[in-house]
């Protein structure tokens, strides 16, 4: 009989905050696409005598994350020096928060794709500065200091996750949340969101945790899933082969998609932490905290719940429409203007608007079509000013021209003809032009009614109200 194992996973994430300037100087924080060593100054390159100054925007964004994670806030937290010598750390120490960080504890609730809710507890959140980038070219080591001093939040979870799937979903939901809060671009490929995973296994039913291995340097959500699965499999293989799990540090090699052992047993480096004397404690006043609380948006998981319970959306729709804040805000705006069946708006959103965002790669907020436009189009369809097909085409026309839908309907003559006499004249013409089909119908092939309606619509280039045409045709075909 084979033993079943349960995996236990804790994640350490580094989140690059999207502040304009760096953590402790006024250099531009985001250097994506910039030449190396162009966003630097005496402070972030560790010139003798230069001093750091705390960027308040970093504190604000870190605080928002603490609130979103239900963490306890330290109203006075401290910056410490983490001392180590490396070429991409120009000061010889990293400014970070060690024993009294801005946030302690808390939890993050998120939904798995099957609807199951998972609660992952947070150990702590702290602010710190990033180091520079090192690139090896042959024997030469190149240092880019653009990234030195970029603000990060390091967030460490408790070992609450139990599968690669849960870990990957945690990251997906975290990424969604970070963008939702507007505090990080959270692009893993650009290393705005970095992840290390601690993985251990234990026999099912056992209360003791196994020895954990740390996987470093995982740079995409798919890689997180693969790396953790490989590691769980490796640990099971080891145990089944009668070996003990040793405390390794493992690196994920993205090129070969393999795990590679970096070193056995973490030799606990001594970072000689002590308070950074150049910075005052980070004091958060009650007023400041209150102002940030007031700024906090409704979180995606709460909004999804409200879309279901208050707006009557199916859970699938609610998930899709809360994938990002833009889409969700747009949807709500349309609903407010439209003031009708929210599910009907949801269908238009998912079928038309999200089709365009998928095709163009634009965010909803970048589209030319506005919430008012979409509400107007749905209204026109409801009032039979246009038919559904025209409505769908109109979405694309608004998007490509930027013109208002009413204007486009007028310009292109897209309005439905609801004038009975015009439709009646066309129906009469179609019936008399097609005596064979009329005969077949009358002989009982009633499915031909659709063909007749189609002919009328084609002749009238879609402008006829199909319901009206059908009624007239039924009358004409019966009458003879």
């Amino acid at each position: 009989m084979t033993q079943e194992y349960i995996a236990t996973i804790g994640l350490e994430t580094h989140i690059q905050l999207n502040t304009n300037t760096k953590a402790f100087c006024s250099c531009k924080a985001d250097s994506w696409g910039d030449a190396p060593n162009t966003n630097i100054c005496p402070i972030c390159t560790g010139q003798p005598g230069a001093l750091p100054s705390t960027n308040q925007a970093m504190v604000e964004k870190a605080l928002m994350l603490c609130l979103a994670m239900n963490s306890d806030i330290n109203m006075d937290s401290f910056f410490d020096r983490k001392n180590y010598l490396y070429a991409d750390l120009p000061g010889g120490y990293q400014v970070t928060q060690n024993d009294r960080s801005i946030g302690r504890g808390g939890y993050f609730d998120f939904l798995m794709d099957d609807g199951r809710e998972v609660r992952c507890h947070i150990h702590n959140l702290h602010m710190e500065e990033d180091a520079g980038k090192t690139k090896n070219e042959g024997n030469i080591r190149l240092i880019d200091m653009n990234r030195c001093g970029v603000p990060l939040v390091e967030m460490v979870t408790m070992p609450d996750l139990h599968s690669a799937d849960e870990a990957a979903t945690y990251l997906t939901r975290l990424r969604q949340l970070l963008r939702w809060l507007g505090i990080s671009e959270a692009n893993m490929e650009k290393a705005h969101l970095r992840c290390d995973a601690n993985v251990s296994i234990a026999p099912k039913g056992s209360t003791e945790l196994g020895k954990k291995c740390e996987i470093k340097n995982i740079n995409s959500i798919e890689a997180v899933r693969m790396a953790i699965n490989y590691e769980i499999e490796r640990q099971i293989r080891e145990i089944n082969a009668g070996n003990k799990i040793e405390q390794w540090t493992i690196e994920w090699d993205n090129d070969t998609q393999e795990l590679r052992k970096m070193r056995s047993k973490e030799t606990a480096a001594d970072y000689r932490y002590f308070r950074e004397p150049n910075l005052m404690p980070v004091h958060i006043s009650e007023e400041f905290l209150e102002s940030i609380k007031n700024k906090m948006p409704e979180l995606p998981i709460q909004r999804r719940e409200r879309f279901i319970s208050e707006m009557g959306l199916p859970s699938y729709d609610a998930t899709v429409l809360t994938a990002d804040r833009d889409t969700s805000d747009f949807f709500e705006a349309v609903c407010n203007i439209y003031d009708g069946d929210n599910k009907r708006v949801s269908n238009w959103m998912m079928n038309e608007v999200l089709r365009i965002t998928n095709e163009t790669g634009c965010a909803v907020s970048e589209l030319k079509i506005t919430a008012q436009d979409l509400a107007d189009i749905i209204h026109m369809v409801d009032q039979k000013t246009i038919n559904t097909t025209t409505g769908k085409n109109l979405v694309d026309m608004v998007q490509s021209s930027g013109k208002r839908p009413q204007l486009l309907v007028e310009e292109h003559g897209l309005g439905l003809v609801s004038d009975d006499s015009a439709i009646r004249a066309m129906c009469t013409k179609i019936v008399s032009d097609n005596p064979k089909e009329a005969a077949s119908y009358r002989n009982g092939k009633e499915s031909l009614i659709g063909w007749f309606v189609g002919q009328v619509m084609r002749e009238m280039r879609g402008k006829a109200d199909p319901e009206k045409a059908k009624a007239i045709l039924l009358e004409l075909l019966k009458a003879d």
Partner: protein, 529 residues
């Protein structure tokens, strides 16, 4: 008329403003004095002592004649044109070589910074420039300010005391103190982490002010121990100290530890006198406390001449209308030296980590195996003995396993020392004092080599009376009060509460005015005789 170079900065500035002399003229006179008394500048070249070296001061590492001349001419032009000028317009000054000066070599008296020209200037240098003072040179110091004698500099010959050329000028602002004492400029900017302004001021018979931590920006000054470093002036008169402080004090957005407390008009305030000022004297500042071989606290008296000068000054202050409060307890003073050792070394070690021989300064010319080998060799060659000692002791004391034993305990001692000040100065408390009068140092200037070779407690604990203010963050001023029987200057210290520079300047000024005609004031340093 007294020679231009002997005038105070206040007097020099007045003459320039009144167009009685030009800034260029004053600069020429100052440079001539340097030429006359300073001898060769300290350098990194292998040092072979020449007989004439023993007769000179050697305060300067670098004279920036062209830079200074351009500024002096600009000041003269502005004054001639009737344009507004800063308070210190045309007054030449020097700066300890830890103040970063844009485009001008800055060494911290260490080989590790060889050839470095800072890409920016420190805030204080910028403020002095805005006040139209004329920077004409950078002066020697203990390497990275690590020392109290200026002997640890990598740039030899080191500075000699203008009063006794076989003695040290004190340190680490020894170059500043010697330069001002020898009339090579009326002002020099120093730094004080444990007494590095006040001790050399006392040893060379001049005035040294250590402002409150946070009063003067540290931005752009190469740090020793960042939680204690303060920047201040060394001058020959108390008025000059007030004059300069007014210009360099204030909030700086680039230094998070500066504060928005208003800057007083220190110079004008001097005239307010000291009637009713409550000046404390503490028995804890009249003895050296140390741990004996058994690990028990023991104490030794300060030099009797020095103790006598404290009591004599107390009498004078009383005559001038101050109240003297004796027996103010400052019982935690005894922790200052050991706690200072721990905290200053841990911070110093961390602050020295950025000097890796890669980004700036000295890079080894030996072949290297890898990056760490490059660090090892560059730092091995670049740092002097004292810097290495502080690095090693700092690394030792900062180990995580010793965190409680050293760093935390030292921080607690620091808090206790702070409490001594809070209680003594508490306006509702038992003592309600405005200032404390102490010796600046337990003894006058010692001989070269004694700081290392001598086992004299007075030398080993030379900074016991000055480090508590760096711990507490409070201001202190050392001012001359006479000469010892062997003709060496003696300094007294007045220390006050946070941001009360105005009060301690007033007290020192009152003392100075009351002793203007004292016989000892007529005696000049040997290099000026």
């Amino acid at each position: 008329m007294t020679e231009l170079i002997e005038l105070s900065a206040v007097e020099q500035a007045a003459l320039i403003r009144e167009k009685k002399i030009s800034s260029v003229e004053l600069l020429e006179a100052t440079l001539a004095q340097v030429e006359k008394v300073d001898g060769r500048s300290g350098s990194l070249e292998p040092y072979v002592e020449q007989p004439e070296d023993l007769e000179k001061v050697h305060a300067f590492l670098l004279i920036v004649r062209d830079h200074a001349m351009a500024k002096a001419k600009e000041v003269d032009r502005k004054i001639a044109a009737g344009e507004p000028v800063g308070a210190l317009a045309g007054v030449p000054y020097s700066a300890k070589d830890v103040y970063c000066t844009k485009g001008i070599r800055t060494t911290a008296a260490s080989r590790i910074l060889e050839g470095w020209k800072p890409p920016y200037s420190s805030t204080v240098i910028e403020k002095m420039d805005q006040a139209d003072a004329v920077l004409f040179g950078k002066v020697n110091l203990d390497e990275f300010t690590f020392g109290g004698t200026t002997e640890t500099t990598a740039f030899k010959p080191t500075v000699r005391n203008p009063w006794a050329l076989d003695r040290v000028p004190g340190g680490s602002s020894g170059g500043s103190a010697a330069a001002v004492s020898a009339c090579e400029g009326a002002i020099s900017l120093g730094t004080d982490t444990g007494g590095s302004i006040r001790e050399p001021a006392a040893f060379t018979g001049i005035v040294g002010l250590k402002p409150t931590y946070g009063r003067v920006s540290r931005y752009g000054v190469i740090p020793f121990a960042s939680s204690m470093d303060t920047m201040g002036p060394l001058t020959r008169t108390v008025s000059d100290s007030a004059f300069v402080l007014k210009e360099i004090a204030g909030f700086d957005p680039r230094d998070n530890t500066t504060v928005r407390v208003p800057v007083d008009d220190y110079l004008a305030d001097l005239q307010k006198g000291i009637k009713g000022l409550r000046i404390g004297i503490s028995p804890d500042y009249l003895k050296i406390t140390y741990l004996d071989d058994q690990g028990n606290y023991a104490s030794a008296p300060v030099d009797p001449e020095i103790e006598a000068s404290v009591w004599k000054a107390a009498d004078l202050f009383r005559d001038l209308g101050a109240e003297i409060i004796e027996d103010v307890p400052m019982s935690n003073t005894k922790y200052s030296v050991p706690a200072y050792f721990v905290i200053s070394r841990i911070e110093a070690y961390s602050n020295l980590q950025r000097f890796d021989g890669l980004k700036y300064g000295h890079t080894t010319q030996q072949s290297v195996k890898d990056m760490y080998d490059l660090y090892y060799k560059s730092r091995g060659e670049g740092f002097g003995y004292q810097a290495k000692l502080r690095l090693l002791t700092g690394m030792f004391a900062s180990q995580e396993k010793f965190y409680e034993k050293y760093y935390r305990r030292a921080q607690r001692a620091r808090a206790l020392m702070r409490r001594d000040f809070d209680e003594a100065f508490n306006p509702q408390g038992k003592y309600r004092i405005d200032a404390i009068l102490t010796p600046s140092t337990p003894s006058p200037a010692f001989r070269f080599g004694d700081a290392v070779a001598s086992d004299s407690l007075l030398i080993q604990f030379a900074d016991q009376f000055t480090t508590p203010m760096n711990f507490a963050g409070t201001p202190g001023i050392s001012f001359p009060c006479g000469l010892s029987s062997s003709g060496l200057p003696i300094g007294l210290q007045i220390t006050g509460y946070d941001y009360c520079e105005s009060k301690i300047l007033r007290a020192a000024f009152a003392y100075e005015q009351a002793t203007l005609d004292a016989d000892w004031r007529k005696i000049k340093p040997v290099v000026l005789r």
